[in-house]
């Protein structure tokens, strides 16, 4: 496996009326060919921003990338100009945007929207592009694709739009697919179908996928590795097994334990993580999770932890991993419980 997308030490900030907010703070990760990296984490933690930074699609007027590199193969995408990016976007790296409702042009038929990228990057005729668009729509499970290519996004249900967005993204067989919550609006059967499709695509083309999602089930199904984000930082990375069975960061624990379990009685309340996410406009001292962490120590409020290497793939940034810290046990469910239905 070749490591061909490396994001290192990315700092991104937005100017708002509340002052500058540092949305990404030293985000680093890499992606190998043919691999799926899932990014999970708090909503608002910067997952979408990370993806947009890679694509260089942040809103120009109020965002700035302060630091870091995005190495694609051996070039730094952040140094690319618009022209060079245009070549890359859609063909080498493509993205499915989070919101299916607004990410499609309301005044262009879905077919045209799919064909557009195709015709931009591949020298094919209109007819071929149309056939391909219909095929793509069928692939993502839209019935009656021949007729529906001519329809407009508002005539599609949310889930259908999302599938259209996916069709657009995979149209040119990209090397890297940034999928920002590609299945949130889909029901499970279609979701399964789409995930299958993505997997096939991956196998065929050796595509690297960054999958941003909240659905840990999807993560379990799809991901090879998982990165957990919190407040603009990656606080833990590891293979999917490592994250699910041996998570080391208290936030990851919190995430995993707040899921509903099919075997648990439904009257039992879910266990969310207490508190609310930090205000990114302030440069806080210490670990950003410290205020919500039940295991926090004094040091956590003072110094921010550095990634600790736990295995070849597994890193976590937490003071608990320091030798001096008391050993704490993760909550009961983690790693032990069988989720079978």
């Amino acid at each position: 496996m070749k490591r061909f997308l490396t994001v290192s030490d990315l700092d991104v900030s937005f100017k708002t009326y509340n002052g500058e907010i540092n949305v990404l703070r030293g985000v680093s990760f890499h992606l190998n060919e043919g691999e799926t990296l899932a990014i999970v984490g708090e909503s608002g933690s910067g997952k979408s921003v990370t993806a947009k930074t890679i694509m260089q699609l942040l809103p120009k007027q109020n965002s700035s990338v302060n630091k870091g590199t995005v190495m694609f193969r051996d070039v730094n995408l952040l140094e690319f100009n618009e022209k060079q990016m245009e070549k890359i976007r859609g063909s080498e790296i493509s993205m499915v945007f989070q919101d299916p409702m607004t990410s499609l042009n309301p005044t262009m038929s879905v077919g045209k929207q799919i064909m557009e990228g195709l015709r931009e990057h591949q020298s094919i005729t209109k007819k071929e592009a149309l056939d391909r668009a219909i095929a793509l729509l069928e692939m993502v499970g839209i019935p009656n694709a021949k007729e529906r290519v001519k329809e407009y996004p508002h005539q599609f249900s949310g889930g259908m739009r999302q599938r259209v967005a996916i069709a657009i993204a995979i149209a040119c067989d990209p090397k890297v697919l940034l999928a920002d919550e590609p299945t949130t609006a889909l029901d499970v059967t279609i979701q399964a179908q789409i995930l299958e499709l993505i997997k096939e695509l991956q196998e065929k083309l050796n595509t690297g996928i960054i999958l941003i999602t909240h659905d840990l089930g999807v993560v379990a199904n799809m991901a090879h590795r998982v990165a957990v984000m919190y407040a603009g930082e990656i606080i833990e990375v590891g293979t999917v097994e490592e994250i699910f069975y041996e998570p080391k960061h208290p936030y990851t624990w919190g995430l995993l334990s707040s899921m509903p379990k099919l075997h648990v009685e439904q009257d039992e309340a879910l266990v969310p993580i207490a508190g609310s996410p930090p205000d990114l406009s302030e440069v806080s001292e210490g670990c950003s999770f410290s205020e919500r962490c039940p295991y926090a120590m004094k040091v956590c409020h003072k110094y921010s932890p550095q990634p600790t290497v736990l295995s070849k793939h597994h890193y976590a940034s937490c003071w608990l991993l320091d030798d001096r810290a008391q050993k704490v046990k993760p909550p009961v469910e983690i790693g032990e419980v069988n989720y079978g239905s």
């Binding site: 947009k52 694509m55 859609g90 990410s103 499609l104 557009e116 931009e120 967005a165 040119c172």
Partner: protein, 309 residues
């Protein structure tokens, strides 16, 4: 769709009917006679004239007669251009008006689009301010001043184009440009404002994520979504341009219809007034109708036949 077009047609005819009726009635109130200067005509003679033209009859009868002729496509005979039929007067004059109007519209739209796009893309830069100022000058300085300046400098001093008259294609260039000024301003301003709105939308990101160049994104995605208000504003402008504009036609001595209209109202040339009003209203209603249909083409979400619920 057809049902909609049909019901729309009915209401359009109703509107036309009301326009014709009201104009006919209001016209009766205009002071004076259609015979021009009647200083030296005796009362008896005016009576004779009224009889001859049927103006001695009650308004209601005149009106019914007018409608009758109208249904047969006969707009009557001009008073001022004695003996010439209004159909002819309009037919002869509409060509030049429509030609320079159309050229002005096309030219203005193209230049306006370019200016507007530059403005929006270079938002709040000097290019933007430059384009804004050009557009604002275009709308705040009346077109006849541009026309006169052009005529003097390009037509007389430089001699590049004929200063006026209607002799060949070159004669259409300056009037068209003069007419385009307001179009440029309109399109540039509206495109700028709407594009800024649209550029912030998510689907613009999607299309850019496809690797479409900014230029193409603008042309294919942004422009179209920014088009609705431009269309709305251009509609009446188009009507005005195509049906002739008084000053520009006067300055460039273009034998157009705009000048004719004012003239006939001033001289009570009843049949010409009615004829041009009708003509104008039909063009107006058709263009507005087309624009309404275009709304739906430009933005398929718009459905005119549906109410809120």
């Amino acid at each position: 769709m057809w049902r909609y077009v049909f019901s729309r047609l009915i209401s359009v005819f109703t509107a036309l009917f009301i326009i014709v009726t009201l104009t006919f009635l209001l016209m009766q109130l205009l002071p004076g006679t259609p015979y021009g200067n009647t200083d030296e005509l005796t009362d008896h003679q005016i009576e004779l004239l009224n009889q001859k033209y049927g103006l001695d009859q009650p308004v209601a009868i005149q009106y019914v007669k007018y409608l009758g002729n109208l249904l047969q496509g006969d707009l009557g005979i001009s008073f001022k251009y004695a003996g010439r039929s209004v159909n002819d007067v309009i037919a002869e004059r509409i060509g030049p008006s429509a030609l320079i109007g159309f050229q002005g519209l096309v030219f203005g739209t193209i230049v306006g689009l370019l200016l507007g796009i530059i403005s929006a893309l270079k938002h709040n830069t000097f290019l933007d301010y430059g384009a804004v100022i050009v557009a604002v000058l275009g709308m705040s300085i009346p077109s006849f001043i541009f026309a006169a300046l052009m005529q003097y400098y390009i037509g007389v001093k430089l001699g590049w184009l004929p200063p006026a008259l209607w002799e060949g294609y070159q004669n259409t260039i300056m009037p068209s440009i003069a007419l385009s000024v307001i179009v440029i301003a309109t399109v540039a301003r509206f495109i700028r404002s709407e594009m800024l709105e649209v550029l912030g939308q998510d689907y613009v990101l999607t299309s850019r994520a496809k690797g479409i160049s900014r230029k193409k994104v603008i042309v294919r995605h942004v422009l179209r979504n920014a088009l609705i208000p431009v269309l709305t504003m251009l509609a009446p402008l188009t009507v005005n341009l195509l049906t002739g504009t008084l000053v520009i036609e006067k300055i460039f001595a273009v034998p157009g219809i705009g000048e004719q209209f004012t003239m006939s109202i001033m001289l009570n040339d009843y049949s010409v007034i009615m004829g041009i009003t009708l003509f104008y209203s039909v063009v107006f209603i058709i263009i507005i109708f087309l624009v309404d249909l275009l709304y739906g083409v430009v933005d398929p979400r718009i459905r005119l036949d549906g109410g809120v619920q």
